[in-house]
C-alpha cells in the first residue's frame, strides 16, 4: 500500500474520481460509436449500443462509480447524438438498471467478476444478462412513449429488438471483457468489492 492508503484505510481517493471520469467518457464515446459499428441506415443502430457490454464490467469492478458512469456517460452520448437533454436524462435511467442490477447481485451473492466458477457464471447470466436486460429494456422502451417518440403500440416490437440486441451484446462481448480485464482492474486503486470504496 502507498503511505496514504496505510494512513487512512478505505476511503474515496483521487483514483476513484479519475476512474469514474474515464469510465464516463468511455461510455459516452461507445454510445456514439453505435452509429459507426452497427448502423444499417444513418443513425439507425437497431438497439446495439456498444456501451452496454462495457457498463456491466465497470459496475462490477468499480461499484457505484461504474453505475454512475453508465448513467452520465450514456446521457452525454445521447446528447452528442442529438437527443434533447430533457429526453436523454430520464431515458438513460435504463442504464442504471442495466449496470446496477448485476452489481447488487454480485455483491449480495459474493460473485467474482472474473467469472472463475460456474456459480459466478450463473449469477452473471441470471442478473447480468437476463434480469437487467429485461428491466432496462422495459424502461428504455416505455420512456420514449411518454415523450411521443413512438406509440405504445410499437413497444412490443421495439422492446423485442432492444432485448435481442442487449442479450447478444451481453452474451458475446461482456464475458470477454470481464475475463480479459478483471485482473487489470483489480490492480487499480479504484477496484472495490463494496459499493463505493
Amino acid at each position: 500500500m502507498s503511505i496514504q492508503d496505510q494512513a487512512s484505510g478505505p476511503r474515496v481517493k483521487t483514483t476513484h474520481i479519475v476512474t469514474f471520469a474515464f469510465c464516463t467518457a468511455v461510455m459516452a464515446i461507445l454510445c456514439t460509436a453505435a452509429g459507426f459499428l452497427f448502423a444499417v441506415l444513418p443513425g439507425l443502430p437497431l438497439g446495439f449500443c456498444p456501451a452496454v457490454p462495457v457498463m456491466v464490467p465497470f459496475a462490477l469492478w468499480f461499484g457505484g462509480w461504474g453505475v454512475a458512469a453508465a448513467y452520465i456517460g450514456c446521457a452525454i452520448g445521447g446528447i452528442l447524438k442529438g437527443t434533447p437533454v430533457i429526453v436523454a436524462l430520464p431515458w438513460v435511467i435504463n442504464d442504471v438498471f442495466m449496470a446496477g442490477i448485476p452489481l447488487l447481485a454480485f455483491r449480495l451473492l459474493k460473485g467474482d467478476p472474473g467469472l472463475n466458477t460456474r456459480r459466478d457464471w450463473v449469477i452473471f447470466i441470471t442478473f447480468g444478462v437476463v434480469v437487467n436486460s429485461l428491466i432496462a429494456c422495459t424502461w428504455g422502451t416505455w420512456i420514449p412513449v411518454y415523450f411521443g417518440i413512438w406509440p405504445s403500440g410499437a413497444v412490443l416490437v421495439i422492446w423485442t429488438q432492444y432485448m435481442i440486441a442487449c442479450l447478444l451484446l451481453m452474451v458475446f462481448v461482456a464475458p470477454l471483457i470481464l475475463k480479459g480485464f478483471t485482473g487489470l482492474a483489480r490492480r487499480t486503486g479504484a477496484y472495490t468489492e463494496g459499493f463505493l470504496v
Binding site: 476513484h16 471520469a21 464516463t24 444513418p42 437533454v85
Partner: protein, 286 residues
C-alpha cells in the same frame, strides 16, 4: 461531432477525418451575440425550462411557433447552418424510427385513413400531424440544446456548477469528463485507423461486428487503465485531493442584463405553458 453515415469500411474513412478534428465536447465558437454574453447557468436553466416547454406543448401550431422562436434564437446566436445540419443528421435515425413506429403502430383516429394494418393500427391524416408535431417538438428541444452547446465553453459549465455550491469533487469530475471525451474520441479514431490498417473491416454479419467491437473496445480499455494511473499521479502532483480543503476559483459567474432578461423570459414561458397545459388543458394535441 462525427457525422453519422452508413456503416461500412469506406464510410468509416469518410467519418474519420472529421472525428479526428474534434477538440471540444461542446461546439463553442465566439461570434459577438447577446447569447454569448449570458452566463452558463442562465443557459442551463434555459435548456431545461424551454426543453420541458417543447415537450409540454403538443399542439402543432404552438409547437411551430416555439420552433420559430428558437430559430430566431439560433440566428441571434449566429450559429452556422452546418451545425444544424449535423444535429439533424445525427438524429435522423431516431426520427426515422419514430416516423415508422407511428406509421405502423399508432391508432390516432382521423377523417382520412390512408391505410389500415392487420394488427389494428391505422394511418390517418392526424397520425401524420402527430408525427409532424413530434418532429417539431423534438427539433425544438434539440435546437435549444444546440444553442447551449454552441455558446458555452466547457470551463463555464463548471463555473455554473461551482456557483450552485456543488461539492468541488463533483465539479471537477464534470470538468474532467468533458475534457476526457475530446481526448478519448481522438484515441478511439486512432484505434479504428490502426485496426483498419491491419485489415479490419466493419461490414459483414452481426457476429463479425460484435467481434470488431471487442477488438476495438479492448485497446480502448487497456489504454484507459494505463492512463488512469498516470492521471492519478499527475493530479496529486498538482496538489489535488478529494479531502475537503479550502480552494479558490479563477473564474466566477458574471451576471449582466441579458442574463436577467433570458431568465425572466424563460421562466415566464415555462410557468405560462405549464399552467395553460396542465391547469386549463390548452396546447394539447388537436
Amino acid at each position: 461531432m462525427p457525422a453519422y453515415c452508413a456503416c461500412g469500411d469506406e464510410a468509416g474513412s469518410a467519418v474519420l477525418g472529421g472525428a479526428t478534428r474534434i477538440r471540444s465536447f461542446l461546439f463553442y465558437f465566439s461570434p459577438d451575440s447577446p447569447l454569448q454574453r449570458t452566463n452558463s447557468l442562465t443557459k442551463m436553466v434555459m435548456v431545461v425550462c424551454l426543453g420541458a416547454v417543447a415537450f409540454m406543448i403538443e399542439n402543432i401550431y404552438a409547437s411551430l411557433v416555439l420552433l420559430a422562436l428558437v430559430c430566431v434564437g439560433l440566428a441571434v446566436a449566429r450559429i452556422p447552418g452546418v451545425f444544424l445540419k449535423r444535429i439533424v443528421v445525427a438524429m435522423s435515425g431516431l426520427l426515422l424510427i419514430a416516423a415508422l413506429a407511428h406509421a405502423f403502430f399508432s391508432q390516432v383516429p382521423g377523417r382520412i385513413t390512408f391505410f389500415t394494418l392487420p394488427w389494428g393500427a391505422y394511418f390517418t391524416e392526424r397520425t401524420l400531424l402527430f408525427i409532424l408535431t413530434f418532429y417539431s417538438r423534438f427539433l425544438t428541444a434539440s435546437f435549444i440544446s444546440l444553442i447551449f452547446l454552441c455558446t458555452t465553453r466547457e470551463a463555464d459549465v463548471v463555473v455554473a456548477l461551482r456557483f450552485l455550491r456543488l461539492p468541488f469533487v463533483i465539479c471537477f469530475a464534470a470538468a474532467f469528463i468533458l475534457r476526457l471525451i475530446s481526448t478519448l474520441i481522438d484515441d478511439w479514431w486512432s484505434l479504428v485507423e490502426a485496426q483498419r490498417a491491419r485489415g479490419m473491416v466493419f461490414t459483414g454479419s452481426l457476429m463479425n461486428r460484435l467481434k470488431r467491437l471487442s477488438e476495438l473496445a479492448f485497446p480502448l480499455l487497456a489504454n484507459m487503465f494505463t492512463k488512469i494511473g498516470e492521471v492519478d499521479l499527475a493530479l496529486q502532483a498538482r496538489g489535488f485531493t478529494v479531502q475537503p480543503v479550502h480552494r479558490t476559483q479563477v473564474r466566477h459567474l458574471r451576471w449582466n442584463i441579458y442574463d436577467y432578461i433570458l431568465l425572466a423570459s424563460t421562466s415566464t414561458v415555462f410557468i405560462v405553458v405549464a399552467v395553460a397545459r396542465y391547469v386549463y388543458g390548452y396546447l394539447s394535441f388537436l
